[in-house]
Symmetry: C2
Subunit: 357 residues, 2 copies
């Protein structure tokens, strides 16, 4: 097992990465102060709920099993979680454990953020996407019909327990979706890591554990440093959103579900790299290099066909926007993403026009 | 105008108290960084919306008018606010102004806490209850069918603008409901202020401005000191909940609305004082003195008739509970409230039995 730390003063927390650590009682013990609620979904529950439950010495455990899939990131599912918490009479001293992928983490985290104005929670991510990205950094949210992750809170977990062994049961499509966020960390922040990914992609797709463990660890290191510098995304943290402006638009336009988040981000990264190249910030050869890697990972490199007006209206509600201006994260070379406030609308239109071709 | 400060480090903020200050542009100007959303209700809007709007130099103002009353503190109203924010394409740089009483403040504050994971907001309270209590301290929430304020967040405003002149239009019943929280501050924290209230109650009921201004200021001073010491209610802040365990149960049992919050707190304080006396902590004469003051203020001193099982189940989900134990705020003499973890269940039952008689 390896452990990193997200340095946030009093709210600092460890990220534990290793195979088979989900059942380690000592990783939960420091945070058990009262009842426990495990929030998971109907796919993960048969695989890992029992193992997690056994690691908890808590007298009272409330289990909440939600539906699998992005559609669950809704108010109605959140309200079902609140019902279960109230039924179990969870108090403020309860600990919430999010056992599952990004949807479970975002939902359970937001439930923990808002139930009785805030409970402690632990992220126990069981998908690659959640292990490399969504379980770290304290972003929690539900979707709104008009926009992805529109309603949410910054609420840091007390710990992240990333059990690499859970990736054994991950469907191929979800493994690939997780790789999109791994690639994002390389392309946005660390060209050397991007090189490593190009050399080791086949090992990752073959689920070699040491390769997966390194990809998770390096992703968490990169993300933890950014989060420590800018917890609430008033500045540099926005670069972690590379590919997400277009990606969120795809997810919202298609109704949350047909496209996995990582798939939408993959197509979104190709668009964002294209926009960077159009703006003269990125060499076209580097944009092509990113596209080739995404393609090799078995991820979509083209967006679905959406009306330009729909693209524009979805982009207009992006959370990075400020002062009435649309903002994009663009690449100034591989590994160097920056938030840009003044992007020529014509270049955005060209990028949209090219997206589905 | 008088100004106090709530001392919370970087998140410190001023409370401005004065007659006619709602329209002072200089009080809003420091916080205008983008669009503005004014959230108010259908009773307050005709009276004060225009005046507030004129004080804002913001280019774009989004107005959201909700229904009056505690029933509006629901997810469905919150979602209407989110719809309006998205329709207006509010970004993270927007400022939310809560113009109204406690319901508007709690709802608009929670919307500000969770829309795009958090916007700045200003409390512009127009009821006595909101000016002396709910607008200060950053508690925001909506109700759940199973419990008052069950879903919410700690989200401090950037400023509180308490315009005493708005109390001129407050219905008598709401003025009295606000006095319940004023009395709470005296009885829980400051016996000298309780003495002052006994001497000046008639002046308050006659809406003499200097008396109201003093009651608001002293309440805010007392509350600000407690909030500064314990922002997230891990300890001493719980004493501000005096009367609220029973009061919230009354509100939840009656379906949020028939009893104003302050009325429920009034009857709840009589019960909590009775429980304190039964526990041997408070002289019966002091409990009687509190009851007499509440009666003089035209507030209820008896709870509605509820089944003992209902009382117990509602008390069991109170947010102050911990480690499976019901906790009560009790009086160790007037002005000296403390959170108690081990209250004899028999005394609670006696208090419930006596409550509606």
């Amino acid at each position: 097992m390896q452990s990193l730390s997200v340095a946030l003063g009093q709210r600092s927390y460890p990220i534990h990465i290793g195979a088979g650590i989900l059942g380690r009682a000592d990783l939960y013990a420091p945070y058990l102060t009262g009842s426990v609620a495990i929030v998971t979904n109907n796919v993960v529950a048969p695989l890992y709920l029992e193992r997690t439950r056994k690691a908890l010495a808590a007298a009272r455990i409330c289990e909440v099993v939600i539906e699998d899939g992005e559609q669950a990131k809704s108010w109605s599912t959140l309200d079902r979680i609140f019902d279960a918490f109230l039924e179990a009479r969870l108090g403020r001293d309860a600990l919430v454990i999010a056992l599952g992928g990004g949807v479970v983490g975002d939902l359970a985290g937001f439930a923990a953020a808002t139930y009785q104005r805030g409970l402690s929670f632990i992220q126990a991510p069981t998908t690659l996407l959640a292990q490399v990205d969504s379980s770290v950094g304290g972003k929690t949210a539900i979707n709104h019909a008009r926009g992805k992750n529109m309603i949410g809170a910054f609420h840091q977990p007390r710990a992240v327990i990333a059990d690499i062994a859970t990736l054994d049961t991950l469907p191929d499509r979800e493994l690939r979706a997780g790789l999109a966020e791994v690639i994002k960390h390389g392309v946005a922040l660390d060209a050397a890591f991007l090189d490593w990914l190009e050399r080791n992609l086949d090992r990752l797709l073959a689920r070699e554990r040491d390769a997966l463990a390194y990809a998770v660890r390096r992703s968490c290191e990169l993300k933890a440093a950014i989060v420590a510098a800018d917890e609430r995304e008033t500045g540099v943290r926005a670069v972690l959103n590379f590919g997400h402006t277009f990606g969120h638009a795809i997810e919202t336009a298609t109704g949350f579900g047909p496209w996995l988040h990582g798939e939408a981000v993959a197509a979104g990264m190709v668009m964002a790299a294209g926009l960077s190249a159009r703006a003269g910030l990125l060499a076209p050869a580097d944009a092509a290099r990113l596209e080739a890697l995404i393609r090799r990972a078995g991820l979509p490199i083209r967006a679905p066909r959406l009306a330009p007006e729909l693209w524009r209206s979805l982009i207009a509600v992006d959370k990075k926007n400020a002062a009435g201006r649309v903002r994009f994260v663009l690449l100034h070379g591989l590994g160097r993403a920056k938030l840009e406030s003044s992007v020529d609308a014509r270049l955005v239109d060209e990028t949209i026009a090219a997206a589905a071709q």
